[in-house]
């Protein structure tokens, strides 16, 4: 185990809780297809941080008290969120344009305020830039405590609100019809995103906190189709990213915590992207190959049955390997039997597809499915009655 200082251990706990909370919250956002709203929220925190600093200094305080800065960032993020929803509901602008406009303008205004602070009292603003990319170095005990408590609170709220949020995520109309206030639930969802963002500012920074809200749900989605499991898995993946990321970054110099956490999360995402049994691209490639071989064998057998030569190398190889043909392309006994069977199947399908009575069954035709898997023996017998010997030629 790494030799973590007390504060570093607290940061690791905080980052893990943050990862879990962000993963769980982000799932609802992701399933609601509004993942990038979090980008607007996180960038909109910057002017709040700067304004809170200025207010605290004006009141004679230190200006760097974390709770104060977080409160300010929450307020301006809320303003940004309202601006996004106002722009996309009340004007013809699409939500993506509203998101982009709010994030760039709030961020730009935040930069202006940062330069104002610089010119007002040079030197004393040190640390505000840390909110851009997060900085856990030199974090105070109370700061770490704020993050741990904040992360735990956000997580508790998500658990409390998970059912209404899930229903709204899946079917807003149904939610509205069953008497749930969709707008309020949506707003609560965004409020949670905002809470996670604000808590994560110090660790991951406002530019990268979005990653913790988007990547774990996207990664979890690869593994399961059940919403409750996506939520749990996403929380787990987020937690792992937070924990492993902080530990890694503490293990060597020049490994900034925020980016490392994001890269760990992406590694988890990439694992699912390649290896997931249902939606991973490896599985998809294997499925494709299996299907391709099935088609080749089927077409090869039909060609054998009709006495046509086979030129396609892959087809020949597959037939040979299955024992249907000799290397020179001549059918074996077993091959002839299989070929006849395929041809009969194909003929039956042709008749079936020409018969309007079997319209429903005909829709299942894909050139591979044996007809026995679609029709009963009686139905096949019925079809066979119209099967003439000439048709076989």
């Amino acid at each position: 185990m790494l030799d973590l200082g007390y504060n570093a251990a607290l940061v690791a706990v905080g980052a893990t809780l943050l990862g879990v909370a962000a993963g769980v919250t982000g799932t609802f956002l992701f399933l609601r297809k509004r993942a990038l709203v979090s980008d607007a929220i996180s960038h909109a925190t910057l002017p709040g941080v700067a304004l809170a600093f200025m207010v605290m200094v004006a009141l004679g305080g230190d200006g760097r008290s974390l709770p104060g800065l977080l409160l300010g960032s929450a307020m301006s993020a809320w303003a940004g969120l309202l601006a996004v929803s106002w722009l996309s509901r009340r004007t013809r602008l699409a939500e993506d344009a509203a998101i982009g406009a709010v994030l760039s303008v709030f961020f730009g205004f935040g930069i202006v305020l940062l330069t104002v602070i610089q010119s007002l009292n040079a030197g004393r603003q040190a640390g505000l830039e840390g909110f851009l990319l997060g900085s856990t170095a030199g974090m105070l005990y109370t700061d770490a405590l704020v993050i741990v408590v904040g992360g735990a609170l956000a997580l508790a709220l998500v658990l409390l609100l998970r059912r209404p949020m899930l229903i709204v995520t899946f079917d807003p109309e149904y939610a509205a019809a069953t008497g749930r206030d969709v707008t309020r639930i949506d707003l609560a969802m965004m409020g949670l995103v905002l809470a996670v963002t604000v808590v994560g500012l110090k660790i991951v920074g406002l530019i990268l906190i979005v990653a913790l809200l988007i990547i774990p749900p996207a990664a979890a989605r690869f593994w399961t189709d059940r919403a409750d499991r996506v939520v749990l898995l996403s929380g787990a993946l987020g937690g792992i990213a937070g924990l492993v990321g902080t530990l890694l970054s503490a293990s060597a110099p020049n490994l900034p915590t925020g980016p490392i956490i994001v890269l760990v999360a992406f590694a988890l995402f990439a694992t699912g992207f390649f290896l997931s049994p249902h939606r991973g691209i490896l599985a998809a490639a294997l499925r494709y190959r299996h299907y391709q071989r099935q088609v080749h064998v089927r077409q090869g057998l039909l060609a054998l049955a009709q006495g046509q030569p086979i030129y396609e190398r892959l087809t020949l190889r597959l037939l040979r390997r299955a024992g249907h043909a000799r290397p020179d392309g001549v059918a074996t006994d077993q091959g002839r039997a299989a070929a006849a069977k395929s041809l009969l199947d194909e003929r039956r399908w042709q008749l079936l597809r020409a018969d309007p009575d079997f319209e429903a069954a005909a829709a299942l035709y894909d050139g591979l499915r044996p007809i026995e898997s679609v029709l009963t023996a009686d139905q096949i017998a019925l079809i066979d009655r119209t099967l003439t010997p000439e048709a076989l030629v």
Partner: protein
């Protein structure tokens, strides 16, 4: 203020800011209409790893390797987003979020790991650039604009930004009809045989080039703001694409000039003696313009949408 002061200190940043704003706002119109507005956001994040790699390979802060790196990163990001969206069956917004945050994180990590302490290359610079520092020391006054020797000392960002702006304008005019048709009705465009996929890829690449060039001069915050705010505001002013483009160009120029002036002289008028970030102020002004357009723009509401009471 006299020409002797204005021409060397304020004219180049003003022009660079204006060209950058225009070069981003023009493709931005199409991106906003195609609901791809956040591509600009994604691109401006991923140029960071690009320039860091460009720097690591050459070891110097020279423009071309870093521009190439940035352009390469932008194209890589677009390809990655498409791949993850298609093969991973993930909605475009989330795919974009996955890619740009990861690449940005990689850029920050590379920057921290490499020894860049001796050169001026840091995340803050990448984010909000340093428009104010692009001054023209050789100029003595207005007459220098005709002096070839003085003109040679112009900040290199100025001609580069001007060329990119011109190229974007020429391309937009050249591909006007196909671009317009493909933007409004992709199915129809496909049916009449327009290369829709190539057009949309070309648009994204043009946007990436504008973003990379502008980013080098003014930082990524202006890039995102200019891709979205002026076109969005223009969208609320008119229903015709031609007019929208002109409105957005006007808004872009207004934001750049007003933002620069407010950042440079605003604090002086208020009695402070330091200027504030011009890039941030330009973004802020463009946001104000959008806010005004959203409140009183003649075409601000959705036609046919249910009116909220």
């Amino acid at each position: 203020m006299s020409g002797a002061e204005f021409v060397p200190l304020s004219l180049p940043p003003l022009l660079i800011g204006t060209f950058a704003a225009l070069a981003c706002a023009i493709p931005g119109n199409f991106l906003v209409l195609r609901k791809q507005a956040l591509i600009g956001d994604a691109i401006s994040h991923v140029v960071l790893p690009g320039i860091v790699i460009g720097f690591l390979i050459t070891g110097t802060v020279s423009t071309w390797p870093m521009m190439l790196g940035a352009a390469g990163a932008a194209i890589l990001a677009v390809v990655l987003i498409e791949t993850i969206r298609r093969l991973g069956r993930i909605e475009p917004g989330a795919a974009m979020g996955v890619v740009f945050t990861t690449l940005f994180a990689a850029g920050v990590l590379l920057l921290e790991q490499s020894d860049t302490s001796t050169v001026h290359l840091d995340v803050e610079h990448a984010l909000y650039g340093n428009l104010e520092s692009l001054i023209w020391l050789d100029a003595m006054g207005w007459e220098s604009l005709l002096d070839t020797q003085a003109l040679a000392g112009l900040p290199p960002e100025l001609p580069r930004m001007a060329i990119v702006f011109l190229a974007i304008t020429v391309l937009t005019i050249a591909f006007w009809r196909p671009l317009k048709i493909a933007t409004f009705d992709e199915g129809f465009a496909r049916a009449i045989g327009l290369p829709v996929t190539a057009l949309s890829m070309g648009l994204v690449i043009a946007a990436a080039i504008a973003a990379v060039a502008a980013f080098d001069a003014v930082g990524s915050i202006i890039v995102i703001a200019m891709f979205i705010c002026p076109p969005a505001a223009a969208r609320l002013m008119t229903n015709r694409l031609e007019h929208q483009l002109l409105w957005s160009a006007g808004f872009a120029i207004l934001s750049a000039v007003l933002g620069y002036v407010l950042a440079g002289y605003g604090p002086l008028w208020l009695g402070f003696n330091n200027s504030v970030s011009a890039a941030g102020m330009i973004a802020t002004v463009s946001g104000m313009i959008l806010a005004v357009a959203a409140l009183i723009g003649p075409c601000r509401s959705r036609t046919g949408a249910a009116q909220e009471i």
